[in-house]
Structure formats: C-alpha cells, structure tokens
C-alpha cells in the first residue's frame, strides 16, 4: 500500500503538472511568444516531473505537496461551491432551498454531534453516531425543498409545525443521557416569556413583525430555561425530548411564519450573498488570528501578571511611571548638547537665507533649496538632541520611528531618482534591495562584522572600527599623512575651480554643492594636520594606541547604529516603490516643465514630488507602522540592553521572559493605540482618492 501510494502520488503530481502546462500552452498560444511558451512548457513539465520524483522519494515533500494540494482544492471547491450555491437562489429557488436546508441540517447536527450532545448506539458495540450528520443533512434538505415549494401561508405553517415536532422528537431520541436537563418549572416558563417580551418590544420599536420576533424570543428563552439554566445529566429522556421539541418547533415556526420570498427577494438574496462569500474567508482568518487575540490582549491588560486578579489601569500607570520606560531626568542636557546648537544654528541659518531670498522676491520667506535644506537638517538634529536625552523605551521607540522613517524615505527617494537616470539601473536597484532578502539572524551576524571592536593591540575585524582606527594611524603617521594632505589640497583646488566655473556660468547649484564639499574637505584637512583624525589615544609614553568605538554599547547613539541596520534593510522597499512611482509620472509634465526653462531640481520639486505625493504618504505610513513594531533587530543585537529597549521587545520580555502578561499586554495595547490615528488618517485619505 505504501509503495503503491507513493506511485499514485508521484504520478498524480507529475501528471497534474503536465496537464496544467499543456493547458497553459494551448490557452495562450501566440506565434510571437511561442518560444517563451515552449520554454515555459519545458520548465513546467520538468518541474512537475521533479516534484513527482521528489514525492516518490521523500516523505516530507510528499506530505507538503499533499497538504498544499488538499488545501487549495478544498478552499477552491468551498469558494466556487458557495458561489454556485447562491447562484441557485436567483435561478432555481427550490434547489437553493434544498441545498440551504441541507447545509443548515449539516451545520446543526454537526455542531451537536461535535459537542457530544447527540449519540446513536442501537447496540452497545455499534456506534452509529457519525451517521447522524448525513441524516441531519438529508432531513434539512427535505425540509428546505418542501418549504420553498409551499407558497400558501397556512400550508407553510402546518409544514413548519410538522417538521418542528418531527425533528424535535427525532433529536430527542438521540440525545445523550448525560446531558438530560433536570428542568424546573419556573425558569422553563419565565425565560420564554421574558424572551418573547424583549424581542417583541425590540421588534415593535424597529417596526418589524412583532409576532415573529416574539416567537424567536420565546425560542431563545426556551433554550436558556430548558438547557442552560438546569443541571445537566440528571433529567429524564422525556425532559430532554420536550426540551428539544419545543426548541425545534419554535425555530421552524419562526422560519415558516415569514412570507415566501418574491422573485425580487430571491434575486436580492443572490446578490447580497456575494460580499459575504468573498469576504468570509478573510474575515474568519483575521478574526481568529488578529481580532480575538487583540480583544484578549485588551482584557489581559487590566489583569495582574498571571491574569488572575483585576487591577484596573494599574498596568498602564506602571508603564508611565517605570523608570526604564519613561526616563526624563536628563532633559537639561538637551540644551547643552552639541546636537542642539547645531540644530538651532542650522535652522536659524535657513530662516535667514529664506528671508534674504524673500526680500528679493518680495515675500517674507522664500522656500528654496538653500533655505529648506538647512532648516530640515537643523530640525532633524534638534529632534535628535531631544531624543538623545529623553530616554526610556517609549522615547526610544519614537526616536526609531522618527529617524528610520525619514532617513529611509529620503534615501529611497534619492536612490530611486538617481537610478532613474543611470545605466544598469536594475542591477543597482537589486543590490539595494538585497538586504530585504536577508533574515534578521543573518542581518545580526552581518552587522556584527561591521560594528565589532577588538583590543587595541589586535587587528580590528569590524569594518567601521578598522576604518576608524586606520584613520587614527594615518593622522599619526609621517609621510602617508602628508601625501593624504596633498591629495586633499588638490581636491580642494579642483572644487574651487569647479565653483568658480559654476559661478561664471551662473549655475547656483554647482556653486552651493562645491562650497559644501570644500567645507567638508577643509575640515578633514584641519583635523588631519591639527588635532588628529579617527580613533587613537596617546599613551603615557607617547605611543599611539588605537581607540575603538563600542558601537553597540555606547549610549545613547548605539541606538542610531541599530537604526542604521533597519534603514539598510528597509530602504530597498522604499526605493522600489518610489522608483515605480517616478516612472509613472507622465513624461509630458516633465517635458512641459523643461520647456518652461525650469532646472532639473525645480522640475523635481515642482512636478515630480507633487505627482508622487500619495506614494510618499503610503510609504511613510507603512514605515511608521513597521518601525513602531520593530523587534527583531533589537532582540538579536542587544536584547534591549544598553539603553536600546523598544516597545515590542519590552512587551516580549515582560510577557514571555518574566511571565507578566498584564504589563506585556498593556504595552501591546499602547503600541496598537499609538499607531491607530496614523492608520485611520491614511486610510481615510486613500478612500477619498478612490472616490475621486
């Protein structure tokens, strides 16, 4: 059997692959593409043969392939089946009735049997319980067929009465003795009355059919009074049977008291079923994997560590009073930090530049590259100054969101623009995208080789420290230092020439770029010849000792080095999206702008950027959500030590390492709630665009 099964599986797999390929070839035969089709066919056949062979030799492959095929076929059949089922509502109403009745019968008996409420053992050693489900299905189908055939009101009611009593008695026969209810008269009478009154009142309030609602309410009340309130297992079969009969009767009467559907109503049913059929699978999955756990998390966040006592908002209070989560005591240092002064200085510079330009054009502030750039950089540095000294998990997480979102968006946009005009564009983009394909375990080890520091007397194995220490050596060496200085002087000369030509030619951008570069190079030259450059220390005997940077340990900027890893990974994502968006900007717009005499920079800012603004919105939103949830990098590289904690890892540690599910859940809720407004705004914006 085993060997035969293997053969059957492999032949099925291989044959299926071949059949699919042949189908594809036949369907899409196109003389221009026939070569490609032929290649595809060969690959398809080869692949399916390989799969078939694999299934033959390897249990695991076979199991996986079987699982995939079964999952796809079953979901396909269910989906197509549901569509076909509701197609019948419009065309063949009675067939639809039979199908629906069958499905309901199947569902009801299935739930009852699955919960071990019904059992059928004619003789002790013969268990026919499984047969109850097909029985119920047939019974339901018959009922559906009959009811959809009856149009006269009285006939429907009589049929409902008959089916109700019949099914009730039948079900009563199969009820397992250990759930016989010990009924009590008061709840038995009181609950249906209460139910009927409540439902009836509700229906009256909403101007629906009061009598039907009352029937439904009474039935629900009956379920409560007869099955949920009494103790189970001590009653008699008579009690069980009456319990089942009245339930069944109530349900059938509720169904049959509705007027038969008109053709129009049948058509509407078919139509309205579609969103449900199309959405149900997704909603079921989302409900089970996201909604229910979220509700549970919300609930747990009000309980103690192990979920046994209600503590109210104590967990939330803990979050905001925890020294590690909100750490404010260093705030005065913000105003003494270099970052702060650079930030404020650059911002002021930008404002002044804008004012000067503005005087020329008659506006109070003229936005241009020369004014916006310093302001943007200045504000960025200022925010960094704030986050570098307002510490704790929450501020650290916000720092991540701020930095990674901005840098990754800017870098992705820049690379996309640059690549747009470069040769071998796809190669360049693939290289930038590559980090996305690397797992976080891989990223952790990769960046260890970038950041690691070793004892000063040994060779550095980390790239960055090797460069850093190398610079230190260079600036303490003799001839190499002078050679480097000479080269730098040459570079400065070249830049000055370039700026001069640019000035003569009236190209402001060239002048500004060259001037910035000159400043940078001159500064390096100064460090090299003056106080020294790179990582070194002068030892007690005047010897030069390498001085490494502990990228992962030195707070607070070790966080920045971790952010670099995420930027490295995520920029591929933003770059690809921006690249596509830029290509979608209509060429005519660019043309028109150039004909008007705009420079490339002006064209970019005034034409391209507004055109891709929606994309920027999408990218920024996605990044914010994603960075807010950042987890793996911190977990792999520091596990939150050295003041690098972020919310997701904090939550993980509280819940999984310390078993404090209350606090962990509260952190998760905080995380979710803080992202919600951004999501909401973004989706609303997109919805408006869709309406357009």
């Amino acid at each position: 059997m085993g060997a035969l099964g293997d053969w059957v599986w492999s032949i099925l797999l291989a044959g299926g692959g071949v059949a699919l390929t042949l189908y594809g070839v036949r369907e899409r035969m196109d003389p221009e593409r026939s070569v490609r089709r032929a290649v595809a066919a060969v690959v398809g056949v080869g692949g399916s043969l390989a799969l078939g062979w694999g299934a033959l030799v390897d249990e695991k492959l076979r199991g996986t392939a079987a699982g995939v095929i079964v999952a796809i076929v079953v979901s396909g059949v269910l989906f197509v089946g549901a569509n076909r089922w509701f197609d019948q509502a419009e065309a063949r109403w009675r067939r639809f009735g039979a199908l629906t009745g069958g499905v309901i019968g199947f569902a009801v008996t299935g739930v009852l049997v699955g919960n071990r409420l019904l059992a059928w053992k004619p003789v002790p050693e013969l268990d026919l319980t499984p047969w109850l489900v097909p029985l119920g299905t047939v019974a339901g189908a018959v009922c559906g067929l009959v009811l959809t055939g009856l149009t006269e009101r009285r006939a429907r009611l009589v049929a409902g009465l008959g089916f109700g009593v019949g099914y009730g008695v039948l079900a009563g026969l199969f009820i397992r003795p250990d759930i016989f209810p010990a009924m009590k008269i008061v709840p038995l009478l009181a609950w249906p009355v209460v139910g009927a009154l409540v439902f009836g009142a509700l229906a009256a309030g909403r101007r629906r059919q009061v009598l039907r609602a009352a029937i439904l309410g009474a039935t629900v009340g009956w379920v409560i009074g007869a099955w949920l309130v009494p103790a189970l297992g001590t009653g008699t079969r008579a009690e069980a049977m009456s319990g089942a009969t009245f339930l069944s009767l109530g349900s059938m009467l509720w169904i049959t008291s509705a007027p038969p559907r008109t053709a129009e109503a049948q058509r509407r049913l078919a139509e309205r079923s579609r969103p449900v059929i199309f959405l149900a699978p997704a909603l079921v999955f989302i409900g089970a994997t996201l909604v229910i756990p979220t509700i549970r998390t919300l609930y747990l966040s009000f309980l103690g560590p192990r979920g046994e006592v209600f503590v109210g908002l104590a967990n939330y209070v803990d979050i905001f009073t925890d020294q590690e989560i909100v750490k404010l005591e260093k705030w005065p240092q913000i105003f003494t930090s270099a970052l702060f002064y650079w930030g404020v200085g650059l911002t002021l510079l930008g404002i002044v530049a804008g004012r000067i330009r503005g005087r020329r054009t008659g506006r109070t502030f003229e936005p241009s590259g020369g004014s916006i750039t310093p302001i943007a950089v200045g504000v960025f540095l200022f925010v960094w100054a704030v986050f570098a000294y307002l510490r704790g998990t929450i501020f650290n997480n916000l720092w991540w969101v701020f930095t990674v979102t901005i840098v990754s968006t800017a870098a992705g946009l820049a690379i996309a623009v640059l690549a747009d005009r470069a040769r071998y564009e796809s190669v360049a983009k693939s290289m930038i995208f590559m980090p996305m394909a690397i797992s976080f375990v891989g990223a952790g080890i990769i960046w260890r080789f970038m950041y690691i520091a070793r004892p000063p007397t040994k060779d550095q194995t980390g790239v960055l420290n090797a460069i850093w220490v190398g610079l230190g050596r260079l600036s303490n060496s003799g001839t190499p230092r002078l050679v480097t200085a000479a080269v730098l002087v040459a570079v400065v000369a070249g830049l000055v020439w370039m700026a001069w030509r640019g000035w003569r030619g009236g190209a402001g951008g060239v002048v500004a770029g060259a001037a910035t570069a000159i400043l940078g190079v001159v500064w390096i030259l100064y460090r090299l010849l003056g106080p020294g450059l790179g990582g070194f220390e002068i030892g007690p005997n005047g010897e030069v000792i390498a001085d490494t940077i502990l990228f992962i340990q030195e707070t607070p900027f070790n966080n920045v080095w971790l952010m670099v890893v995420l930027i490295w990974i995520q920029t591929g994502f933003t770059m690809v999206i921006f690249s596509a968006a830029i290509k979608a900007v209509p060429a005519e717009l660019i043309e028109a702008s150039k004909v008007d005499g705009a420079t490339e920079a002006q064209t970019f800012w005034r034409v391209t950027v507004p055109q891709i603004a929606p994309t920027i919105g999408v990218v920024v939103t996605t990044l914010i959500v994603l960075v807010m949830k950042v987890f793996d990098i911190v977990k792999v590289m520091t596990n939150g030590n050295f003041d690098t904690q972020v919310l997701a890892n904090e939550m993980w540690q509280r819940a999984f390492t310390e078993f404090n599910f209350g606090l962990g859940s509260a952190l998760a809720v905080l995380l979710f709630v803080s992202v919600l407004p951004i999501m909401y705004l973004n989706i609303r914006r997109m919805q408006k665009e869709t309406v357009r």
């Binding site: 499984p130 520091t638 030590n641």
Partner: protein, 464 residues
Amino acid sequence: MRRSRGAFALLAALALVAAACSGDAGAPETTSAPAEGTTSTTKAQPTTTQAAPEPADEEPDLAGTKVTVFGPESSDEEAGSLQDALDVFAAETGIEIVYTGARDFSDQINAQAAGGNPPDIAVFPQPGKLADFARQGLILPLPDDVDAAVQANWPAAWNAFGNVDGTQYGIPTKADLKSLVWYNVQGFADGGYEIPQTWDELKALTNQMIADGVTPWCVGIESGPATGWPFTDWVEDLTLRFQGPEFYDQWVAHEIPFNTPEMEAIWTEILDLWNTPGAVFAAGGSIAATPFGDNGVPLVEGDCMMHRQASFFAAFLPEGTTTGPDGQINTFYFPAVDPNTRPVLGAGTLVAAFRDAPEVWAVMEYFSTPEYATNRQKAQAARKGGGLSGFLSAANGQDMSAYQPLEQGFIEILLTADVVRFDGSDLMPAAVGAGTFWTEATSVVNGEKTVKEALDAIEASWPS
C-alpha cells in the same frame, strides 16, 4: 439587511460545523485540514500527577512510545551528542526519544507552556526558571521511586538545585564548573610561578607578573546582547569566597539588598584588580569590547598568563591547542580566601517533566545516570574530533576513561567541593540576572558609572 445577516449566521454555523464535526466524537472527516506531520500527540496534563509510574522492570511495555525533549543546547556538537546519548537508551527500551534544541529556549518554553503545547521533558539551564514553573504547577514533581533512584546518582548539592520548596522537580543532567583559571603552562614555567592557593596569593602573583613585565590576565566581557556576564561570574565567585554561602543565598534571593557595602567591596576588589596598570591584556574600556571567547588566542600566544572562565572555555581555544599539565594550557582552581575551604561556583542543566507517563519518567531517570553522562561525553568527544568535549557531569560513578585528564580534574573538583552554588545571575529575576546585572557591570567596567551608582541602579531594577 436582515437576510444578509441570516446568511452570515449561516456561514458562521458552517464554520462551527467544520470545527465541531471533526472533533473527537468520531464524526466523518469533513474539514480541509491536511494531514501534515502532526507528531506531538501528547498533551501535558499537569493536574493529574497522582499516577505512580510502573516499576522500572516492566520496561518492555515502553516500546513504541515517544518522548519529546526540548532544551537550550542547539549546536551540532551539543544537541547532536545529547541525541546520541538518548539514542542509546532508546535502542535499549524501544522508546522513541526526540531532542529539539532552540537558541532562545528560555522564551520559547514559556510560550509553549502558556500555549498548551509543552514538550514531555524540558532541559532547564536555570534553576530559577524551573522553580517558577514548579510553583505554577506547570511541571510535575518526581514520583517517589524516581526521586529515590536519582538521589543516589548525583551529589546532594546538585540535586538540591532541582528541589523547590521541599519537593524534587528537577534532575541535574549536566554541570559546568565556573571556579576555574586557565593558564599558560609555558609562561608559568618560564617565570617560575607557583599555582596560587589563596586569593591573596593570586593577587600577589598578579603583581609579581606585572613587575616581571608579563601581562597576567586576559579579560573580555563582550558577548553580544549578553555583554557583561563574565563580570557577574567574577562577582559571584568572589561573593562565595568573601561572604560565604549563606550570604550568597540571601543575596541571590534578594533578602539582602544588591547595593550593600559587602557587594560594593567585592565589585571594587575586582575592578581594582582589572584596572591595575598592566594587569589586563585588553586594557581599560576595551575589556567591554573584547569578546569573551577571543581570550583563547592571546592566552595560547602568551599575551597573557591567566584567564578565569568556566570549564566550557576549552571550546574557545584555537584548534590544535593541547591541554593539561604537559600541554600548552592548563587550569587551576580559582582560589578561596581560606585554603581549607573549596567553594565551587557551578552551572548546568536540569530536566523536568511535563507529562505523567512511565516512558517519560524512564527517560527522566536515565538523564541523571552515569551511563547518560558517559554516553554523552563519548559522543560529544567524538563529534568534537579531539580536544576537550565541553561537556561535564557530576554524576557519581561515571566512566572516567571517557574524559581527558584535565576534565577528570574538573570532575574531581565538582565531586569534592564542600559548597556548591549555582550561577547567581541564573537564579535572579531575568530583569536583573539577564539585564541590569550585565549592563551595569559593563558601564562600570567602561568607567561610565561608579560602583555605587551601578549597584543602586541594579537594586532599583529588582522587580518588586
């Protein structure tokens, strides 16, 4: 609207059916769940602990049963040899035993237990975690006969790590010896240095080496996310030596605050030693930058003479390094203040059971036997392909010939120690033992904080 709601209810009912039908009542198979490798058919029933396992003689019964083991050891050598040792027992009894190792076992076992999918047996590297699980009723106490059988297998001090509030839950199965100093044999011979017998002698030796122009120590505490832990081992070893086991137990249990003067004195003692000019190969702040495993090469090359590290450090020596009195590298016991006492800082793993079944108890019992230790040692030595295996056990009556001379010495220390204490950071709450204890130590070593500041910060971080 009403109708679409009805249809919705119908679909919900369908989902219920699909769910309920394939339940346990033997209903026809109607769900789409593919039959994919669902192997762990056993569910833990921690509440039913009363069943006494069958006597060990009736072992044939166990053939065909399956036991899953989950633990932190994951590399080819460790996990592979653990499985090899289990396979020996599996061949004898017919029990199928599968070991799975995962790097972040500590978090995973919590998730598995909370999610209702625990293994049959878990290998705990931390007695604190085991106690936590025991108090929550997640793991099972040993049945009396198993308890009796294992008590004889390991020294009482080690069995005590598996004892929670007077009930035995865990069984020791692997030991690490932490109170060790690895030294360069040739360097000691050249300098005419003696093995120090007391802490004072060790300090004197350090100073003498500095005077001779030799760097005595290699220290490095970098270990990725766990940077700082080697420092905590020094603290624990010295606490055990300076203050004795009672103080140690109270300190670990936080009955004594972390920032006591005694603790400050110990930290200062260590830092003074490390910060003595010329004492440490990786000077100053770069101690925190030196990966702890990178101390092997300079030790062999003679850049430094001594390195205090646990028995598993053998694996970090460069390939081909010879060990033992006649080799390149040897070890001595990290000396005590009083040469007449020999307190030992250890670590190791303990197994505990989640499922009450005779085959589970049989495997549990096997874990503590000298046969297991010997089988594992042989397998691990073979997988290592020479040198020290990195495995160590304190089980009584092991086949000593499976060990190299140096390892035999370790076992000797383990078996003769009068006081054995488990690595304290493994016993403390994770927020301290795997958090602030490491990070504050790093800050102190880097010179960013004073000892007092660091100790206060650790004390403040202790979960209430």
